[in-house]
Structures are given as C-alpha cells and as structure tokens.
C-alpha cells in the first residue's frame, strides 16, 4: 500500500510529459542509412529470445560486418508497458519482437513500418501467423516463431482409469476426463481455467473447433454466433460435471506440480511444457502423451508466438530488413529451434534436419489447423471480456446469454 494513488497518477502523467516534450523534437526526418554503411541496429527482444538473440547475431555479422546488433532483453511482464511508453516518448528501438496479439495495438499507434511483401512472402509462413500481422492490405510484421496448444495427458492414469485410445474429439476428451475423475488421486480431471488473466487462450480453440470466428469479414465481432454458444457450452461441461476447478486459479498457478503428483492428469498448453515437465517432474516424463487438441466440428487452434517488426521512426530500416531476413530464413530458424526450442514460423524450416529429428509432429498438425487472431487495436480489452465471460460461465451462467453479453461488449470496443 505504499504506492499511493497520487504516485500512480504521477506515473500516468509523467508518461504524458515525456510524450509532450519529446514528440515535438522527433520524427519528420528521412535520413535513412543504407544496409552497407557502418551502423548500430537496436533490437528489443523478450524472454528467452532476449537472452539468446545476441548469440545468433554473431553469425549475421559475418555477412554484414558493418551492422552492430545491440540487443536489449526485456522481460515479458514489463515489455508491453515499456513499448507503449517508448512509443509515447519516441524512444523506440529500430526493431523489436512483438507478441502476436500486440501488433494491432501498435498499428493503431502508427508506430510500425509496413513490411515489403516482395522480400517476405506469405507462402513461406504459417497462414495464421502471417494473417495476424495483416491489416487493411498492409503487413506490419514478419512471423518469427510460433506456438500453439496441444493436449497433455497422463497415459498411465488413463490406463488405470480404463480409458483407451488417444482423445481425438470433444467427446473423447470428455470421456477421458470423466475416467480420470474416478481415480482417488485426482483432484481435478482437467486443468481448464475458470476465467482469470489469459483464460481466453484456452477457450478460443473451442470457438475455432466449433467452426466459429472472432470477427466477420468487415471486422465486426461474431461472438454471439451459434458456434460461439456451442463452444461456450462445451467449455462449461467441465465445470458442470465437476471435472475442472470452478473458481479461477490464483495468479501464478502452475499446473506442472499437480500434473506430476497425479492430481491434475490433463491440461492444454504450449510446446514449452515439454521441457518444463522434464526439468520439474522428471518421474512422469515417460508417462504422458501429447496430442493435437481434440476436434469439434473441425480441427482448430490458436497461434501464438512473436513477430519481428521495424518501427516507423527507425533510421536503419534497410539494416533492420536484412536482420529480419536473416532471422526468418529457414536455415537460421532451424538452428534457432535447436538453441531456444522456439518453433519456426517459416514452414520451410520444418524440413530441415533439426526439426525432422525432433518430435514436433503434433505441433505441426496443430499449427496447420490454427486460425489467426486478427490485429484488433483493442484486442487486450476484448480478451479481458472473454476472461470475464468464462468466469461467469464456470459459475453456471447460461452460454447463450453470456454470448450475447460478450458480443455487446465486444461491439462497443470495435469501432
């Protein structure tokens, strides 16, 4: 409580002060430096990538000795605010890695330089990843790495519960969860968030699997469609039957310990969990299986990951393009997979030996089935509305009514 209302107000206003002062002196200059000239390219990268980009940049320097790549690692938790503040103060770097759902917001801010589609071609990348950067015919980012969701489930416990075969459909998954529930060791059969920050990531696959979409061709939300109601109904089943915890998880809950302790034998998550299971609960590393998310009316999934963007205010756009070209090249991407375990966004990289020998088939299948989240300026707010809807749903709310309410809220956010 030591941070007072006023000091937060101060923060808000300091951002404004900076923007007032600095936008006045920035911008307007077209002093572009050519790619061959000696220069420093500043790059912000987040999380694990932030720690490793500098390493791979050394290879880049062999071809482009004149370009010094200066990487600033930024934590994911603060990255969003830092980027917006930097945009306000006109202090953005030359390029950055942007979370796939942030692109819409930065397009709205006018901070991004469109991508040259002669140099980067849609056909090389996963369509869902590419489309997440596309607005009104312009492309603002090049997909760098992708992630998606697969279903993790304990095979030994499934056997114990007497459930056979891989879960391939919604019905299979529900049957498996009901089987798990009968085991004494089980606390919750399925880890499905009942709302809370980021719960939307778990629900969107259901929407896509039901054949639904987020928005129609004109960008109007379609969250009250019959498909959306169907997805909500399916999601709610796990709470109604006591298969998933009906209250939202406390911030920072990590399913992995419960997964290892037989308490929560099934969850849906991204590729990074494979490594985490090996590190944190090695005793069950051979006792589980990953499968593509079970399908409803069809296969469906979300695509996450990050894109590489060049900021409009950069004076080193040519160098930034070279570096982006290098990072999204199939060979570099395959090597990058070995270094950082990030799944390549460039589809050609999946034919490289490094990925051929890795067990990533399920992820490939999921990525092919994934649908894009279009770059909506107020996506964060819509996502928050979905989180709130799921919370009400888990408490026994009526799917049709909630879908109508969600639609109304979403419509007011998309103008």
């Amino acid at each position: 409580m030591s941070r007072t209302a006023m000091s937060r107000t101060t923060l808000t206003a300091t951002a404004l002060v900076l923007s007032l002062g600095l936008t006045a002196c920035g911008g307007g200059d077209e002093k572009q430096v050519s790619a061959d000239a000696k220069q420093t390219l500043t790059v912000w990268a987040m999380g694990e990538e932030g720690n490793r980009v500098a390493e791979i940049a050394k290879t880049f320097n062999k071809e482009h000795p004149g370009i010094t790549v200066k990487v600033t690692p930024v934590g994911w938790d603060v990255a969003h605010q830092k980027l917006v503040s930097a945009a306000a103060a006109d202090q953005l770097p030359d390029m950055a890695q942007l979370g796939s759902t942030w692109v819409g917001e930065f397009i709205e801010l006018g901070a991004l330089e469109p991508v040259d589609t002669e140099v980067f071609e849609e056909k090389d990348f996963f369509p869902a990843a590419w489309q997440g950067n596309e607005k009104d015919g312009e492309v603002y980012g090049v997909p760098w790495y992708v992630d998606t969701r697969v279903l993790y489930y304990r095979t030994d416990l499934a056997k114990k519960a007497g459930v056979q075969g891989e879960p391939k459909t919604w019905a299979d998954q529900l049957k498996l969860a009901e089987g798990y529930k009968k085991l004494d060791s089980t606390k919750w059969a399925f880890s499905l968030p009942a709302g809370g920050d980021g719960a939307w990531q778990n629900w969107l696959p259901y929407l896509f699997q039901a054949g639904g979409t987020l928005v129609d061709k004109d960008g109007r939300p379609t969250l009250d469609s019959p498909e959306s109601v169907k997805a909500l109904t399916e999601y709610a089943k796990y709470f109604d039957k006591g298969l998933a915890r009906g209250t939202r998880p406390t911030p920072g809950y990590d399913v992995i310990k419960d997964f290892g302790a037989d308490k929560v034998p099934m969850f849906a998550s991204g590729p990074w969990m494979v490594q985490n299971i090996e590190d944190q609960v090695p005793k069950v590393a051979d006792q589980y299986e990953t499968v593509p998310l079970p399908s409803g009316a069809k296969q469906g999934n979300i695509i996450g990951g990050a894109s590489l963007v060049t900021f409009a205010g950069s004076e080193h756009k040519a160098a930034a393009q070279e570096f982006t070209k290098f990072l999204t090249d199939a060979k570099t991407q395959a090597k990058w997979y070995e270094m950082a375990k990030s799944l390549p966004a460039n589809q050609n990289a999946w034919n490289e030996p490094q990925l051929k020998k890795a067990d990533v088939e399920d992820f490939k299948a999921s990525l092919d089935a994934a649908q894009a989240i279009p770059p909506i300026a107020k996506w964060e707010e819509i996502a928050h509305q979905i989180d709130l809807t799921l919370e009400k749903l888990a408490k026994g709310g009526d799917p049709a009514k909630l879908a109508a309410e969600l639609q109304k809220n979403a419509e007011s956010l998309v103008s």
Partner: protein, 350 residues
C-alpha cells in the same frame, strides 16, 4: 502570563491570546484593529545585518541562499509532482486513450463525461464498495491490534521485548512479493498451512482466495498483519510520552488496570491515535498491492479495488483520461475522509 521576551513578534500575540483568558489580551487585539501588536523586544529591534527594517522582500539577496538550497527539491517537485498532478487533472476531462499516447494533443475535451460515466460504471461502484469494505474492517483492526500489541509491549512483557517488537515490525519492511509467496502458501486450499492443520483436525479448509465471500476478508487479515507494526511503533512512542506521575495519580485514586487504560492511556494517546488513524486510512483507501499480487481482483471482481481498477484501465488498456478521473475521485474521497477524521479525533485533553 506574558509571552517570553525571546518570542518573535508574530508568535507573541497568539501565545498570549491562547495562554491567558484575561480580557486584556483581547482588548489589546481589538484596539489594534484585529492586527497583532508588535511588542518591542530586543529581537525585533534590529534584524541580522543591523538594518532597522522589519519586513524584507522575500526574494532579496538575503534569501537567495535559501532558494538555492531548495532548488533541487523544487525542480523535482515541479517536474515529477506538481506538473503531472495538474496534467492528470486536465487529462481527466479528455478522452485520452491509446492513440493519444503518440499524439497527446489530439485528445478531445469531453467535459465531465468521464466522471458521469464513472458513476454509471458498475465495476467502478463495485470497486468503491470493495475499497470501503477493506477500509471499514481493516483500519479499526489495524489500529486495535497495533494498540493492543503496543500496550502489552510497553507494560506487560518484560522479557524478549525487543524480540517481539522486531517480530511485529518485520512484516512492514518485508517486500510484498515475499509476503505474497508466504501467504499464498498459508492460504492454499490443497497444500497450505491452514488446509494442512484443518485436515489434521478432520475439517476441510475453504478455498480462501478462490471464494467470493472469503477472498476479501483474507486480504484484510493479511493487510492488518502487514500494517499493525507501523501502528504499534507509533503507539509505543506515544505511550512512552505519557508521564508516569499521571498514571501514579490514577492508581493512588484507586483506578484498576482497565480504568487506567480507558481514562488515562486512551485520552492521552489521542494525538498519536489521530496520526495513526489518518495515515492508516489513507494507506488502506489506496489499497493496491495486496489484491494485485494475491488475487488480481478476483474471483468475480470481489477484490477489485479502486486503485487496482485504475491501474488496469490506465496501464493495461491505456484509457488514461478515464483512469485520471478515477484518480481524482479517489483523491477527493481521501481528502473528505481525512478532514472528517481530523474533526472527529480532535485532541480534547488540552
């Protein structure tokens, strides 16, 4: 009683007026047209450099050193406090949103729209209610437990006094993140301390942070634990300032321990009580960290406080105009509550 001769001219009349109830003081004042008479004291005859001039220009060379000394503070204050505070006020009358982050001048003035919207916003009203809930329960509990601990430490416990003082004060200086880790463990419904104890005794502990009814009380308990140390230290200082003769006199008159506490300790602690009450209430009205780290406002917004909602609107969604209007609403509420407290808890012992 006349004022001592060393008093400066401006303080003399007030001292004399309040110290003596004689009619001469008021008559004197009336004669000088309500203005303070300036008795000729040695100090007022000549000022430091020997000139007979009484009033000096505030910005004269003599004061230059003072202004220079305060420049670092003033520069900081004006840049990082006064200007932003004014800017926030302006912003609260605009529709400042995400796109204005890069073009602040495009924000449009919308008058009081943010404020009217605020009071139709169910979520804000809920946040207001939650904050009030937190304050109404949390502040008396903090003051009560702080006072209780202080009284015990002041007279009851002889041994390990320092140990207990440190123990009660430790939560105040511990980082909130560390506190959150410990409390999450205590409250965890499956592996937590309370859940474990309950299991031993054959009960099932509720899911404290996951239940709409219990989440806020849990946070209140945690906040009381975190803040009672401050209250305790202040009360201890206040208790030590109560002269022993007063207590002895009470005891000689036959007062028991409880009577002594009620008739001597509490009234003489009123100034400390006022300070503790005002500071604790301001802190509790601004409650942010506890729900931020423990529940993120949930479940179902049952722990969403005004500050947390403000943060979410301002920094998650960049509705700066709307968030600013919330900041000012909270500011007005804090100001009103503080003024009310200053009035209610006026020191009546003098």
């Amino acid at each position: 009683m006349r004022a001592p001769t060393t008093s400066t001219p401006t303080t003399t009349p007030t001292t004399s007026a309040s110290a003596s109830s004689s009619s001469s003081a008021s008559a004197e004042r009336a004669a000088s047209g309500g203005k303070a008479p300036a008795p000729r004291t040695p100090a007022s005859d000549r000022s430091a450099d020997g000139t007979p001039k009484l009033r000096r220009d505030r910005l004269s060379r003599h004061n230059l050193a003072g202004w220079l000394y305060s420049t670092p503070f003033l520069a900081f204050f004006l840049t990082f406090m006064a200007f932003p505070i004014a800017a926030t006020l302006l912003m609260s009358f605009t529709d400042f949103g995400l796109r204005n982050v890069t073009n602040p001048m495009d924000a449009e003035f919308i008058g009081l729209e943010n404020y009217t919207k605020l009071f139709q916003d169910e979520l804000f009203l809920k946040a207001l209610f939650n904050t009030a809930y937190f304050v109404v329960l949390g502040v008396p509990l903090t003051i009560g437990s702080g006072l209780f601990a202080a009284v015990l430490l002041n007279s009851g416990i002889e041994r390990f006094r320092t140990f207990f003082r440190v123990g009660f004060y430790a939560p105040v200086v511990t980082a909130i993140v560390a506190v959150a880790v410990v409390w999450k463990f205590v409250l965890d419904p499956s592996e937590g301390l309370i859940a474990g104890l309950a299991r031993e005794l054959g009960f099932t502990a509720p899911d404290f942070l996951g239940s709409e009814a219990l989440a806020m009380p849990s946070l209140i308990v945690m906040a009381v634990w975190r803040n009672m140390g401050t209250a305790m230290v202040l009360f201890l200082a206040g208790l030590q300032a109560i002269p022993t003769e007063v207590r002895e006199a009470a005891r000689v008159d036959g007062a028991g321990a409880f009577q002594e506490f009620r008739k001597i300790t509490v009234p003489l602690l009123t100034p400390t009580m006022l300070y503790v009450a005002v500071m604790t209430t301001i802190g509790f009205l601004n409650v942010f960290e506890e729900p931020f780290v423990m529940t993120d406002g949930g479940p179902s917004d049952s722990t969403l406080t005004v500050s947390l909602y403000m943060y979410r609107e301002g920094f998650d969604f960049f509705h700066m105009g709307y968030a600013s209007s919330m900041a000012y609403t909270l500011f007005v509420i804090i100001l009103a509550v503080t003024l009310l407290q200053l009035r209610l808890l006026k020191d009546r012992t003098k």
